[in-house]
Symmetry: C2
Subunit: 503 residues, 2 copies
C-alpha cells in the first residue's frame, strides 16, 4: 500500500504504471501483470466566476468531511449548499443540525431526481420544516468575496469589544463573506458554500492508456470488468454500467455495486468467470425524520426510456395500525402493463421504507410480477408489518389495474385542474373531508351514499372517483363499473393529488 | 352479518346450512350457491387431569385477551404458560411486563420450533434475562385446585387486616391456587395457567358435509380453495396447504396466507382463476428486546424432509457499524448444494432481522440462488444497511462454500467436543480471545501468525479453523488451502459454537 503516491500514467505496451511520490517528488515505474483502475468520481464544479474562492467547498472524502465539520463549528452563521442530491442534502442536514442558517439551491424543480415530483415534495416539506431555506429551480451563477464583515464579526464590533477579540473572532470563525448571484437574479450571502451538484468519473489516468470510454464518458468495461485494453480492469464510480431495467448505459456511482465490481474483477483475474449483470440504482437517503428510497426506474426515467408502464400508489403504515408507533409512508410501484413485471418502486416516509424497497429490488432482480407481490409471504407480527403488507397491497392494487377490475388514473395524468367538461370528478369521502380540501371541480358523493345517488351522475360521461388514499375510491369504482359506468379510481387518492399539487 | 349464530351442519345436497341462533335458541336453514368455510383453528388442550379447572385458560380471540389481561392485573402473583410457541411466548412476555412471576414450560428442548437450536438459545437467554422462569424439556401432566390461599391473601392475613379486606382481596384477585405436576416429577404453584401448546383445525362443521380432510387432519382444498364437495370452499387456519420448499402437505396457520386464500376463493367464485401456490411459513416474533424470524425450512425440517442442504451463518450488524445505534443479529441461510437455490433462512437479533428475512422470502419465491444474493442491490446509506448488506454477505459466504473456495463446517456438525484425534482444531483469534473461552481441544494460532507457524500443523490431518464470527477463519482457510491442507472454516465462528453449546 503506497500512500501519498499518485499513478500518473499507464504504459500498456510495457505494462507499467508511472508513480509520483508526492512527498519526495520522485517518479518510478511499477510493472503489472493485471491492473485494476478504481479512481472513483470527483465532484463537479461549475465553470462560474468565483468558484475557486476560499469558502467554496466540495465533499468527496473523510478529509473534506472533517474540514466542513470544523468550519461549520467555527462560528460562522450561514451556509449555502448547491445541489439537492444525496451529498447536498446530507451536508445541509448536518449544517442545520449544527445550528447554521442553511440554504439549499437546486437547479431542478425538485430535490432527489430519482423520486417522482410528488414524493420529492414530501421531502421538500421535511427540509423546510427543519428550518432549511430550500430554493428550487435556481442555481448559482457567480460568487464574489465580500468586504463586509461576517455578522458575528459585526456583532462583536457593535458590542464594543476590544480589537483583539474581533481579530481573533475573524481568524477563528469568519471565512470571509461570499456574495452569491443566482440565475433568478436573486443574491445570497454566506460564509461557506458547498457544491454537491454531481460527480464525474475520473478518467484521466485511463486515458493515458487510450482506454475506451463509454457514451456516458465513464470507462467502458465488459461483464468481467475488463477495459478495452488487455489486462486492465476498471471498477467503481469511474465506470459505465448497464441499467438492469432500461438496458441503457449509465453512470450510477453506488457503493454496493462498486464493491461487487471489485469482487468480479478479482474473480476474473483469478480464473473465476463471475459476471456483473448491471445496476438497478437502488438508493436511499435519510432526510431529517424521513426516509426516501428508490429502486429501478421512476416516472421521468421510464418516459425518457420510452418504456410502457403503469403505476400504483399507496399510503400504508409500516406495521399494524393498532400496534403503537406505526409510521406512514407513500409507496409507488411501476410495472409493465403487458407482463406485469416490476420496473421500479419508490417510497418516502417513516420507518419501514427501506424494507419495502429492498423487497421490491429483490423482486425486480428475480423478474417477478405484480402477481408475485400479491403472493409474497412476508414477516407478520404487529411490531413488524401487517397481514397484508404494503408490498402485498401494491400487488393487489397493481393486479387489479392490470386485470381491469380496478381501473385507475394517476395524479400526474389527472392533473392539477381536471377538465370537468370531459370527466365527472367524484369525491367519495365524507362531506367533512371534502370541505377540508378537495380537487377543483369535484362533486361530493360519499361512497356509502353512492348506490342511492347514482342518478346524480351522467352514465355517458367518464367518472374519476377519489377518496383520501384509494380504498373507498376502489369501492366506488367497483359499484360504478357494475352499473355500467366508465370509471377510474385516483391511485393514492387525494393524498397523492395533494402531494403533487398542494402547497 | 349474523353474530351470535353458529353454523352447526351442512346439507350439501340441498345446499343449505343449519344455523343456531344462540340468543333465541332457534334453528334455521340458510341456502347457498357457494359456501366458504373459514372456521379457523382452536387451541389444543391436553387430556390431563384438572384441565377444565377454573384458572386454566387458552388464548384464541380478543375476548380471551381481555380476560387474561384483566386476570393478570387482578392481584395474582404467579402465572404459568404451557408452550413456547408464538402464543405462549407472547402471553409470557405480557405477563412478565405486567409484573407477574411467570414460568414457561415447554415440552421440547427449545422454544420456537421453526428455529435451529442455537438460534433458539439466543431467545432462551433473552427470556431468562427478562426474569421469566423458562423450563425446557418438561410438560404439565396434571393440575389440582389447592386449598391454600394465594400469597397475596396470605400476606393480607399475616398483616392482620380486617376480614372484610381479605375477602375482598380474594374475590378480586385470587383465582384459587393451582398445583401443577410436571412430567419431570417437579411441581409448581400458580394462580393462572395458560395453555398455548398448539392449535388444531376446526373441522367439525366440514365433516357434517363429509368434506374430505387431508393427511394433516385439516380440510383438503385444491389450488382454488375448493373442498372435495362441490360449491364448498375452505380457507384459513382450518385448511391443509402445500409447503413451497418441501412440497409436503402441512397445516401452517398464518394470517398472511389466510388472507390470500380468502381472496383466491372469492376470485374463483367470481370467475377469476387465481391460484394458491403454497406457503413458505414466513414467521416472526418479538420476544422482549429480540426479534426471531424464519422463512422456508430450517435444520430439523430439512432433515425430516430428506432434502440435501448446506448452510452458512453470519453475525452482522443491521447497518454500518460506524453509524450510531447498530444492532447485531445472527442470520442463517439454507440452500441446495447442487443448484444454489435458497431453501430457508432464519435470524435472531435486534433491528433489521425482519427486513432480511423478508428479502430472503422474496428470493425463495423467485427461485433465486446464493449467487443472486451476492448480486442483490439493496438500499445502502449508513442508517439502513451496509454497502455489503447481510443478505449480500450470506451470498458471498454461501457461494464460497458452493464453489469450494471457502470450505465450511457448521457448529452442529463440529459438535460440542470435537474429536481432535481426527481433526486439528485451530483458533485463529488473538491469544486473549482464546483465553476468554474456546472450543475444547483447539490450539491457538492467530491468523496473522499462521503463515509463519505452519510447521505446527500436520499437513496430513484435516484442519478446522475458527475465529469469532467467521471472517478471520476464512482468511486462515484460504492460507491453508493454498498450502495444500484439507481445511474447513467453522461457519459463524466461535459465536455460533457458543450459541449452540454454551451455557
Amino acid at each position: 500500500v503506497r500512500t501519498r503516491h499518485e499513478a500518473v500514467s499507464i504504459d500498456s505496451q510495457r505494462k507499467t504504471v508511472k508513480i509520483h511520490n508526492l512527498d519526495k517528488n520522485t517518479f518510478e515505474d511499477l510493472s503489472y501483470d493485471k491492473l485494476i483502475l478504481s479512481p472513483g468520481a470527483a465532484p463537479v464544479l461549475p465553470p462560474i466566476e468565483g468558484i475557486h474562492l476560499p469558502g467554496v467547498h466540495t465533499l468527496r472524502n473523510l478529509q473534506d468531511t472533517d474540514k466542513l465539520y470544523a468550519l461549520a463549528r467555527s462560528g460562522i452563521k450561514r451556509a449555502v449548499v448547491a445541489g439537492g442530491g444525496f451529498i447536498g442534502l446530507e451536508v445541509a442536514e448536518n449544517f442545520a443540525r449544527l445550528g447554521l442558517e442553511t440554504t439549499v439551491i437546486q437547479r431542478d424543480r425538485q430535490v432527489l431526481g430519482f423520486l417522482d415530483a410528488d414524493l420529492a415534495n414530501i421531502v421538500h416539506r421535511e427540509i423546510r420544516k427543519a428550518g432549511v431555506n430550500l430554493i428550487l429551480g435556481d442555481s448559482i451563477t457567480g460568487l464574489a468575496q465580500s468586504d463586509l464583515l461576517t455578522r458575528s464579526a459585526q456583532g462583536a464590533l457593535i458590542s464594543g469589544l476590544a480589537q483583539g477579540a474581533l481579530i481573533s473572532g475573524l481568524a477563528q470563525g469568519a471565512q470571509g463573506q461570499l456574495n452569491l448571484s443566482l440565475s433568478s437574479g436573486k443574491t445570497l450571502d454566506a460564509e461557506m458554500v458547498v457544491f454537491g451538484i454531481g460527480v464525474h468519473p475520473e478518467v484521466v489516468l485511463a486515458q493515458t492508456a487510450n482506454i475506451q470510454l463509454g457514451t456516458t464518458g465513464a470507462i467502458l468495461v465488459d461483464e468481467h470488468m475488463r477495459t478495452s485494453v488487455p489486462d486492465i480492469y476498471a471498477v467503481g464510480d469511474a465506470i459505465e454500467v448497464r441499467h438492469l431495467v432500461s438496458g441503457a448505459k449509465a453512470h450510477i456511482p453506488l457503493a454496493g455495486p462498486a464493491n461487487r465490481q471489485g469482487r468480479i474483477a478479482a474473480d476474473h483475474i483469478c480464473g473465476i468467470g463471475s459476471r456483473f449483470g448491471g445496476v438497478l440504482g437502488t438508493a436511499i437517503l435519510r432526510v431529517f425524520g424521513k426516509t426516501a428510497a428508490s429502486t429501478g426506474l421512476g416516472l421521468r426515467a421510464l418516459e425518457k426510456a420510452g418504456i410502457p408502464f403503469e403505476s400504483v400508489t399507496i399510503h400504508p403504515a409500516n406495521h399494524a395500525g393498532y400496534f403503537p408507533g406505526a409510521e406512514g409512508m407513500t409507496l409507488r410501484l411501476y410495472f409493465d402493463p403487458a407482463s406485469g413485471k416490476i420496473l421500479g418502486a419508490q417510497g418516502v416516509g417513516g420507518a419501514g421504507v427501506d424494507k419495502r424497497i429492498d423487497i421490491l429490488s429483490m423482486a425486480i432482480r428475480g423478474g417477478m410480477t405484480v402477481d408475485d407481490l400479491e403472493a409474497a409471504e412476508l414477516c407478520y407480527a404487529p411490531p413488524y408489518g401487517s397481514a397484508k403488507d404494503p408490498v402485498n397491497m401494491l400487488g393487489f392494487v397493481g393486479a387489479g389495474l392490470r386485470s381491469g377490475t380496478q381501473p385507475q388514473i394517476t395524479n400526474f395524468r389527472l392533473g392539477k385542474s381536471p377538465d370537468t367538461s370531459a370527466i365527472q370528478l367524484v369525491d367519495v369521502r365524507s362531506p367533512g373531508e371534502h370541505a377540508n380540501g378537495h380537487i377543483p371541480g369535484s362533486v361530493s358523493i360519499p361512497v356509502d351514499e353512492l348506490r342511492e345517488r347514482l342518478a346524480e351522475l351522467d352514465p355517458a360521461k367518464p367518472v374519476v372517483a377519489y377518496c383520501q388514499v384509494g380504498m373507498r375510491g376502489n369501492v366506488a369504482v367497483r359499484i360504478l363499473l357494475q352499473k355500467g359506468f366508465r370509471v377510474q379510481n385516483l391511485s393514492g387518492g387525494y393524498a397523492s393529488w395533494e402531494q403533487l399539487f398542494g402547497g
